[in-house]
Amino acid sequence: MFDTALTAKDLWFLAQGAGMTILVTAISVFFGTVLGIIFGVIRYQIGPYWAAPLTFVLDIFRSIPLLIQLVLAYAFLGTVLRLGLSGLTVACIVLTLYTSAYCAEIVRGGIEAVPLTLRRAARSLGMTWGQDMRSIVMPLATRVALPSWIGLALGVMKDSALVYVVQVVELLKSTQILITRLQEPLLLLTICGAFYFIISFPVARFGGYLEKRWSND
């Protein structure tokens, strides 16, 4: 079963695909989280009524297949607006917004989990809204939100397998390219799945551990 045409070069090719997966994930999760925090805070701060338009827009990103989001964004930005964006750019933009839509929910949940009485106490001490947010809300909300956020980041990594539609050669796509040439689907797919698993599993476990630890106190 280890009699294979797979060469070191091919493994390097796979590794490059994996690198692309990680790059896309890292960029999207980073900017998506920043945006998500901003959206989440806004949604919490201005109340459900005024936030309705924002909620609606973010909800769209969670109600349409990512594949369609990518195709549409690619077609719209390119075909309609004629912006010469690379596939990688489009992939990162879409995944960033996608991430931010989920992240906003997580952030809002985290903020809501901070007892109002604590925030009143902070304001009574003369702390400004910003100081309250930074010193009280952020540390406490983070504890609630971090496990879900880790889940989200891993989800985005797995979903990034779809960016092949905008011509980004990430891990799964590079696996398919090798399958085309080497015709060893089972072996190659197993390697590919194992790679995702090796990144995802320990991090997911770590998230579960954090959740357990923080829910105890």
Binding site: P115, T117, L118, R120, A121, A122, R123, S124, L125, G126, M127, T128, Q131, S135, I136, P139, L140, R143, D217
Partner: protein, 240 residues
């Protein structure tokens, strides 16, 4: 001096404060008693501007609390407040809880804030709990920490909102002792409380609230000895 003039306040259709007039002199200890929902807590949160008022005015040291131009954050530095629910910041140690506001709000140096924190915590009898997280403290200790936290801002006034009602009976004493100590040091205080014995011993005056109205206000001997308001008479009869 805290001057409250004809303050009215509603939550939606519910009028919670129906024109309150009250002046608290510097150095005075005022106790507020009254039934549940009579508006006591609301009055306190209006005094430090956490809740807006509908009409009337509240002045603290001559500054109009609810004027648009007032810097509330600055004003709140001179009005310490401690609530019924324990409000320890769970992610900070006891010392850090107390140091937080002085550092962020007063921009004190770490050393300065730490010195003050240790001083105030020792003052309320928590000198040995400095580096403990609040989760490890009893309710009474958490309330004393909240008092120290407020005191660390060197406030001119302290407001206490039923600080002992969420405590087990055996823990009430230690917190009341702390309040007594503050009163004896000349702090200007408004204490909302259900502890009649405490009100009688410590207060300069006692105010009785009933359904958003300050029905009676008098020195404790008079108010408890010969209550005039019929509702107050009922209230005292029920609590004895």
């Amino acid at each position: 001096m805290i001057e409250i003039e004809n303050v009215r306040k509603s939550f939606g259709p519910l009028e919670v404060l129906k024109g309150i007039n009250l002046t608290v002199q510097n150095g005075e200890v005022l106790t507020v008693i009254g039934g549940s929902g009579s508006g006591k807590s609301t009055l306190l949160t209006c005094i430090n501007g956490l809740e807006p008022i509908d009409s009337g005015s509240i002045r603290v040291d001559g500054v109009e609390v609810h004027a648009k131009t007032t810097d509330l954050n600055k004003l709140r530095q001179k009005i310490g407040i401690v609530f019924q629910q324990w409000n320890a910041f769970p992610h900070l140690t006891v010392k850090e809880n107390v140091m937080l506001a002085p550092r962020k709000v007063l921009k004190q140096s770490k050393a300065e804030a730490e010195e003050m924190a240790v001083k105030q915590l020792t003052h309320v009898g928590l000198g040995d709990k400095l580096d403990v997280y609040p989760g490890r403290l009893s309710g009474g200790q958490q309330q004393r920490m909240a008092i120290a936290r407020a005191l660390a801002m060197s406030p001119s006034y302290m407001l206490f909102d039923e600080v002992t009602s969420a405590l087990d009976p055996q823990l009430v004493g230690e917190v009341l002792d702390t309040l007594r100590m503050l009163a004896s040091e000349g702090m200007t205080m408004i204490c909302v409380t259900h502890e009649m014995k405490f009100a009688r011993e410590v207060s300069d005056r006692v105010a009785f609230f009933h359904k958003g109205v300050m029905a009676e206000i008098a020195p404790p001997a008079e108010l408890f000895g010969s209550p005039k308001d019929p509702e107050l008479q009922k209230f005292l009869a029920a609590t004895h």
